[in-house]
Subunit: 366 residues, 4 copies
């Protein structure tokens, strides 16, 4: 068995993962999005329905509390799968943009919306694809969900459950152990605590009426993780999970295990004492010691800021350096967290698949 | 100008950065620690005193509230600097371990301490360097501080100021704008709010008497950052900063800008409206839009759990799968955050130097 | 100015280049081939006709001495280009496989052809896409030509001219300085020495009649290269060029400058004496000193083995470990070098674009 | 089993290998050379004598036909080995420069020697470490030999034998199968054909008397290689071997299997027909099909140009753009190939260890 290697990044910032690796391309209003999944093991039977099901979860227009924008999000696989099985060669796929309403955006051609990437893109590249934010659009995450759905099939014994744990000031007030994850998909908010879900849904509808938006948090619980995933120094398991989550649009914070509360505690309260079988009595460590999984549940929380696009009048900057009032248009999410749940799971699955494949080497007795 | 590239990781998990890159080696009780700094620009006059000064800040034994363990932490540069200037070739350096008390650790040879990496290391590698935790020891961060000190000289116009913002339940109750960073080094806690610093220091001494430990948070403010640092998709500036911070021992959480509070807000409250010069009236975005710096202050907060080593009796697991009581020994920090301040700055400097060099390409008009 | 960085490889072996990077996917008989070009500068006006023209050069069925297999090789760009210019975001493209005759290959489903990858693929992956060799097919190089055509537009001042310098025993007997590269495209062999071209063409036709194949060499001359391209240690300019060429199907050798002849010479004969302007009187160094371009012409020679697929009866291994006689079928090249000329240029352009972008940083005065 | 990954390069051009990775630092006349070996499996008993023995082979001053420069080349390991075994953490090591005669080089401070890297270094970096060529010195290969010696212990069942196959016009006229590799170390030239060895040695002495130098070739034979090493597209096994060899100082060419001769042959002559057990009757493929090892012997040939430093008067360029006559001084090799034999083996071992570790994953049945 031996130490191993992880590289959750790539030269051009459009890839993620090392042994299991996704590279994405595509703008919100180009001809198509897509990507290449590389390093996927050969001989895996691929369940295409499971993949499409994940796409449906991310898709707009699923309910009244998310954007009514229509996106078909039909994945077409072009390579790497032969007679239903992965061949070990790169899996190329595209997702055509069937519903490009560029005219929706022509009004922002010469303006920079507050808290959007418009301004920095133009400064950085000297050119800007103003159609729906181009590459900065969350539409890019559709490709991540495809890769995540395949990653889930690579690590099928590991269970990944993300859910909405707060919307605005409305929080689930139970520990995750008291929740039934099978209820997550039963409501539009994707909150397994139905009482909270109802409040959240009502609040989001209210916010939507105001043409406003609201933030929220997603909690993710990963169970049945083998011991030994993660690298000790720079590529700690929680460091990679953190980067993966922070790479999702609108995320402003990440904490795992005891998180920010842990910073208020004493060591005598915080240490997780062992049972004789190597499990721990408590789990404030969040299933990770020194950057390496210890077999206990991994859990973390991700903070999403409110969507910046409002259906209200607000001040914008023009490329003539003037401030004008502009009415927000288009079809946008009043609250992004319900649709972000499958994206959080996808990124977690990609990180775990990567470390999982690495760990197989440790298993192959040296 | 053009898009660019970032890769804050490496195949073996012992490197960080791409264009500006540190690779570290060494255990807490081996012959020496050290590393290689690669991709440092040629022709930079290196201030060796400034480097040693950073080492002093991280060094144990600086005050009564940190471990009295003696580490000389004398850096020896072996290559890459000729006649006082960088040559563009890799900078190799070592930090001899002058004070290795392996016997301090012999008592834990056969036991796994709670909330330490002992257990997962032995499971992962089938072998364990039990002397002071070997590679999992925070002593590894000495090499990071060397690289960070050189990174600071590469990006000398960017100002990086980290400080202790909370210890246990004691928090600074002012916005960073009201703080005088020049006071950070005037007290043992490294808290620029002197009233809070006094309370924190008293509390840490109290905790130390109990043989206990306590967690805390560090806030880091980065000023005078050029517009355009960061990559839009996976390698967002805040995603790399987050990974860098989460890779520091004992860190359990990271938030930037509005952070977790932002998740409770409405878009109409959260959006940062522009001034005509492209600056923003508020800065809940934390100086980053869509993963790219916008020229405003970057600020983030890092949560550290309490140190796991207690100078108390506690239950440990043996490699015979029994639980025994063991008295904690050795010289450890009752609170890690004061000594972690220079490490947070070092990792921030490494990330920024990397993106800064990348950005120089954008500047070289295509 | 400073030292820099090069990484002509990627975690999954399906990418090439660092700052300018191509990742390819696709099998010869899947739905489509394609790739992602990442790190291409923003703001470059893209000449699509020039790209399609390169595709025509690689395309089968151009003349009687290459395979009559029909491949439309129509490139469709899906992202990264907006209003005719690169945006700095990844350029995704596909090349549909319009003419998949899988039945051509059903006869080899259970057999391993000599000097093909059939056998090692099945051993390595435990599964085999037997349609035209799947991923091992030279059809994959179509995606390289797309990336190379764009790379040429990034480094437009650098002139890359490859040509056939030998077929079997027929060699051009002139130094490249005496050749008119504008004649390369005037004949089916792509040999700028018309007398040799005629002999080569006749010989290939003869070989084809026999159902046999023959090897050859391609020489590539790169002119107007700036000084300073290449890294001094592992990523020497000629080491990357060598890897790039050896990654092309059927290549068995690479030499640059004096090459294997240089190994027979004395230092007093081999050294290139300087002129006062820094140019050299001779150029046995092939335009590269210590891995770094010195501004003189770069030239190298690439050896291609004969194509393994014969239109003859030959012994093959079955997956039942028996040897049987099998008649070669399908439409194959009797000699691969004429069609390989644009591929050699494409890979050279990708390597040079990568180092060229790197070098722009050196230019941006530190 | 599945497809896998290879990345024989790194962001800063001072590293080689992915899973088994060496990063080197150090100039010929700095305080020390050294490096970090990362990703070495844990639990390997390290034979330090075997490592020092390899260092002796590369060391100057071994015989009358190599430079009499004294270099102690004593390796000091600083980390990664505990109680005689690798721990899976990075192995840091240094090789002090005990015999730095900088004054030997002061005379070239202001001049650029023909066919040296002096000129391009100064152009590229704007600064030059003129002491013995600084980083461009072959002294850097000492660190490669340390890594190669450890790599050999990782892949102990694979046999790597390199030897001098030609010096100037003197060639071994036998196939490698007729050679006894145990004779390689019995003579100063490292040629296992004793008759040729004698001629070569005499010739090198003659050349040395003239103050001249001569080139040569090294052949390397790798036996007992498992099937499946190498990646199919860009990271073909022979492409990585080629890059590794071309990264060695003074190398101008690489060919494997039939090499340049193969380019003259017909397919009907070149194809390697199978035996029923999957071995092949001939081996013009050099043990590699489609970039992947097939279990047959891997063999390749490397061309070294003559050393550029002559102990003669020759014209040099000054940094004032004048040409002057200068007398070559210092202690240099009249022929580099005898000392390059262990370097060729070291780089081959590093490449193979990398692919070997990768392949262990394929073995761990998915």
């Amino acid at each position: 068995m031996f130490i191993f290697v992880q590289n959750n990044s790539d030269m051009a910032g459009n890839s993620y993962g090392t042994l299991f690796r996704i590279t994405t391309f595509g703008e919100s209003h180009g001809e198509a999005l897509g990507g290449i999944i590389d390093g996927c093991p050969a001989g895996i039977q691929i369940d295409l329905d499971a993949i499409q099901k994940e796409m449906q979860r991310r898709k707009p227009g699923q309910s009244t509390i998310v954007t009514q924008r229509k996106e078909e999000d039909e994945v077409q696989f072009l390579s790497g799968i032969f007679e239903g099985k992965t061949t070990g060669t790169p899996i190329g796929f595209i997702i055509p943009n069937t519903n490009q309403k560029s005219d929706d955006y022509s009004h922002i051609k010469d303006t920079y919306r507050p808290s959007h990437a418009d301004y920095v893109y133009e400064k950085k590249y000297g050119i800007r694809d103003y159609r729906g934010g181009g590459r900065s659009s969350a539409r890019e995450t559709a490709s991540r969900v495809v890769a995540g759905a395949i990653a889930k099939q690579v690590i099928s014994e590991i269970k990944i459950n993300a859910f909405v744990s707060s919307v605005g000031e409305i929080f689930i007030d139970k520990p995750y152990q008291d929740l039934d994850f099978s209820l997550t998909e039963t409501n539009a908010v994707r909150c397994p605590d139905l009482a909270s879900a109802e409040k959240m849904e009502a609040y989001i509808k209210e916010i939507k009426k105001q043409g406003d938006t609201v933030g929220g948090t997603i909690t993710c619980v990963i169970q049945n993780v083998p011991i030994g995933l993660g690298e000790p120094v720079f590529d700690k398991l929680h460091a990679e999970l953190g980067k993966a989550m922070l790479s999702i649009n609108a995320v402003h914070g990440f904490e795992y295990g005891s998180g920010f509360c842990g910073a208020r505690m004493k060591g005598s309260e915080h240490n997780d004492l062992y049972n004789e079988d190597g499990t721990t009595k408590s789990n404030l460590s969040g299933g990770i010691q020194g950057g390496i999984s210890n077999g206990m549940d991994i859990y973390f929380r991700v903070a999403f800021k409110p969507v910046a696009t409002l259906i209200q009048k607000q001040e914008v900057l023009t490329n003539q350096n003037t401030i004008i009032e502009q009415q927000g248009k288009g079809r946008h999410d009043p609250c992004v967290v319900p649709r972000a749940v499958p994206i959080v799971e996808a990124m977690a699955a990609i990180v775990l698949a990567d470390f999982y494949l690495i760990n197989k080497i440790n298993k192959s007795n040296y």
